[in-house]
Symmetry: C2
Subunit: 331 residues, 2 copies
């Protein structure tokens, strides 16, 4: 049974996922998979995955998208949250949900190269699962994320995203919430809206925009070519995403990912969706967004020890490269 444990100094939670059973020899690099290796996410192998919780099925049969519980979940969905002390320490049972969004039946078509309509199905699936998991009062946060490429932590090649529902609000989100609240107390304005206003006026870090979303490379980008996708108008939670916004998000996401592909030659990357905690109402101070981080540099002793990131590419330069990248058309 996985377990949450809290570091008593920093209050950072970790998940001790012991049933994943990693002994020392398990950390050796496995040989690369053969091109014809078995893929549990490909059509025909549906019986090897847990039973799907959501799917998009076109009229002609088959499926366009499936959402399934992760076969090797880091958290377990059964039972209630049980907090306990252990001397000085605090722990909880590893309660949570861990799902995989299989973005399409085609093993070889990465998200950026699917049609806008198909990417919109993925965004809709994120939203459907988010809204559904919100009904479970044991959960306080749903983190939606994607790892593409082995260096970015993807263990299967078939294009997929993941979500993990958590009984706690994660530390990184708490930090953003605290900073946004501090700004709101001082200014009575949303700090993300303030950032967007300054960026739209200044222009040098605006990568893309459409009627609903803006992509910026943030002023204090941690990583080369880091970008954030933000709703243009104030919106604290992903929950309220409209059909229009969903389509606009699919379009800007495709445009951005194609540009990253073009400029960085198909880089490994992660993206993570940050939104208000589940059991909070709409707020004036927080603003949901997606952070996209290509995996181009290594996190080393200085970054781990300091929490300060060294970024060799100024966001203004990254913006220029991404803006100038040739894509067939805007989406």
């Amino acid at each position: 049974m996985p377990e949450f444990r809290q570091d008593p100094i920093t209050t950072r939670w970790v998940i001790i996922a012991s049933e994943r059973g990693r002994r020392p020899s398990d950390f050796e690099t496995p040989p690369p998979k053969a091109d014809n290796a078995f893929c549990p996410f490909c059509p025909g192998n549906e019986h090897t995955t847990p039973h799907e919780v959501y799917a998009v099925r076109p009229a002609g049969g088959g499926w366009d998208l499936r959402v399934i519980p992760n076969k090797f979940p880091v958290l377990q969905v059964e039972g209630d949250l049980d907090r306990a002390g252990d001397g000085l320490y605090d722990k909880m049972n590893g309660l949570g949900a861990h799902e995989v969004i299989i973005e399409g039946p085609e093993h070889k078509i990465p998200l950026a190269h699917r049609s806008v309509e198909r990417i919109n199905q993925v965004v809709r699936a994120y939203h459907e699962r988010y809204v559904d998991l919100k009904r479970d009062f044991r959960f306080r946060y749903v983190l939606i994320f994607k790892n593409q490429g082995e260096a970015a932590g993807a263990s299967l090649e078939h294009p997929h995203s993941q979500l993990i529902a958590l009984p706690v609000v994660p530390k990184r989100v708490q930090e953003e919430l605290a900073g946004a609240r501090r700004h709101f107390e001082y200014k009575e304005r949303c700090i993300f809206c303030d950032i967007l206003r300054q960026e739209m006026r200044e222009g040098s870090r605006v990568v893309l925009e459409n009627e609903e979303f803006v992509v910026i490379s943030p002023y204090a980008a941690r990583f080369p070519f880091e970008t954030w996708i933000l709703p243009k108008h104030h919106e604290s939670s992903f929950e309220t995403l409209s059909a229009n916004q969903s389509l606009a998000l699919a379009r800007i996401l495709k445009n951005l990912l194609l540009r990253l592909d073009r400029v960085l030659n198909d880089p490994p990357f992660n993206y993570m969706l940050h939104t208000s905690p589940l059991q909070e109402g709409p707020s004036s101070y927080y603003h949901w967004h997606i952070e996209v981080i290509p995996k181009l540099t290594k996190t080393a002793g200085f970054e781990w020890g300091a929490g300060i990131y060294i970024n060799p590419t100024p966001p203004e330069e990254a913006t220029r490269f991404l803006r100038e990248a040739r894509v067939d058309r805007e989406f």
Copy 2:
């Protein structure tokens, strides 16, 4: 000129190291270096490095250890700190010192395989440089760290450590200081001393100890086989390290690194020394230590998005493997 920029939401500083000039094509993986490639840290090539700031020279000539300014520093040592606003944002010029500790003349002998006496020279060098840089009142923190192995971020194979002196107290250290202060306000005890007491009594996470130091695998370890080296008796700063303690640290560090080598087959790793900020006197609440993290897993979207780490190896199991590892003798 490098620049510090602060994320206005999380107050996280980043270093935009633009003179490192990374264009998109610079991120492609370079071919592995030939075995006979030029090494600036090897004897005979001293003229290719900046002028050394510290060295250990045995009576017979040559050198055992050199400390040099990094030829490609992420921060620049000249001038004064200049803080400025940029609309909503805050920045500072990239003031700091960035030095390299070349741990020995031998290109092929990693730290763990040097003699205790030679490892003690490395610890003494850390201490000498720490004390010297403390005299520079522009600096508020000196972070000493080591990256070993390419996956852990080492760009040169020749065994070396690094230090970066900073005009700010880094975020990760601030988090530890805040947590330690919170505990002290509540209990009037050092939280690290409390942890050590519980661990010594309980035993299942104590990897090693000698008269001055204890190695534990922390209760909420972020990474498989993560360990911390802590002074047994309360000590807030690395500054007060005695000759005895230095030798004891060299011994336990060798013992630990040899065991990691044995159990994990020469893993890439980082270690980072956390100590009280430079311009603070001794404190009752903070306790310096070294965090050692083998690089065995990939940090992916969930970790970046949540700040929650998934550790597949319980620290109790890591402890058991490390304790049972066969090393020739205790040091």
